[in-house]
Amino acid sequence: MNSRLINWFKFSSPASFYPLAGRMIPWFKWIAVILIAIGLYMSFFVAPADYKQGEGYRIIFIHVPASWMSMFIYVVMAVWSGTGLVFNTRLSSMMAQALAPTGALFAFLSLWTGAFWGKPMWGAWWVWDARLTSELILLFLYIGFMALQGAIDDPRRADRAGAILALVGVVNVPIIYYSVKWWNTLHQGASVKVGGGGSSMAATMLITMLIMALGFWAYSIATTLSRARCIILERERNSTWVRELVENRRG
């Protein structure tokens, strides 16, 4: 058997993943801190004011990265959920469980910063246009996923139920993305087009936004891995390796 193949499957057990995640977290934590620090500095001191929105547009440096993360994390969560459902692997479902709260956090931030941006610029805190409504649905899906898992006692059944919800809801993500193209919306079109259509932002503004997005991405990895470790300990608390781990800490 190929030795690389064996190593890969080795990490699909919670017991081996736990220390691996523990080693990865500090790296992503510090990458996040540095990128977000640079991004924040650029958001306020390097990116120029906008010709129409003045200083108010700077909210974009949180709003767009948070929105991107909320969608990206949901897709990753659905993939891990589906993998756990199909291959019956515990760790995949644990990863999905670990991703949900962070995804929900970014969905909430997308809506919150969007409201605080919409009030001065559009004149309204909230409108029921396609993009806003579908992002709100995304937040409900995250909350539904977490609530569903909390309501079901048996962890494996909870995993399976959550997976079905996550997979059904994934259709919402392209709706969020294409809503501004398919329908007349109040929300403006994409400032950065996937597929290389270019962007409609000044270069400095775009770079700042991308740095913040990368910082949020690194943050998400660090938090998700942290939460995954907690979930692993909680779900595997009766196993030998967990007991040994705790004893080694005290000893």
């Binding site: 129409k52 409504t133 649905i137 409900f140 539904g144 609530a147 569903l148 006692d153 007349n184 000044a202």
Partner: protein
């Protein structure tokens, strides 16, 4: 007892979330998924006759007139058809002639749209003022060149 209580709360929260999603989906599918009608669509009779709807387009340059008090009238155009809008209230900061607008209200007498709410719609372009000025100047020179072109030949 405590475990069951917690589970019940979680279940209710989950059902509430699912219910919320369903309600939103049904609501969205019933109404128009588009947030507004263009002047052309209104002219074609696609907008509801005596129901609140939203009209979206550009504010025609030079069309903003102030009436008495906070009442204003302006024209919304999609460069094909125009509709006059009357609104009493404070206009949003970004409301400007030549910029996008979405008004919610009803078609009134004489085809005038009586707006109850006016929102400014902006595009996805972000740039510093210097770049905007340069673009504007370049646009004006290009227009001038086009107008003088055939004569200078």
């Amino acid at each position: 007892m405590k475990g069951r209580h917690k589970r019940l709360v979680f279940l209710i929260a989950g059902l509430a979330a699912l219910g919320g999603i369903t309600a939103l989906v049904l609501n969205a599918l019933q109404g128009n998924l588009s947030y507004f009608f263009s002047p052309t669509e209104v002219a074609e009779g696609k907008a509801p006759a005596d129901h609140l709807f939203r009209l979206g387009g550009l504010v025609e340059k030079g069309s903003l007139k102030r009436g008495e008090g906070l009442t204003v009238t302006f024209t919304v155009t999609d460069n094909l058809k125009k509709i006059t809008v009357s609104y009493t209230g404070i206009l949003p900061d970004l409301f400007k002639e030549g910029q996008g607008v979405i008004a919610q209200g009803k078609l009134g007498a004489g085809g005038v749209f009586m707006a109850q709410e006016v929102l400014a719609k902006h595009d996805e372009n972000y740039m510093p003022p210097e770049v905007a000025d340069a673009l504007q100047k370049g646009h004006q020179e290009g227009v001038k060149a086009m107008q003088q072109g055939p004569e200078s030949k």
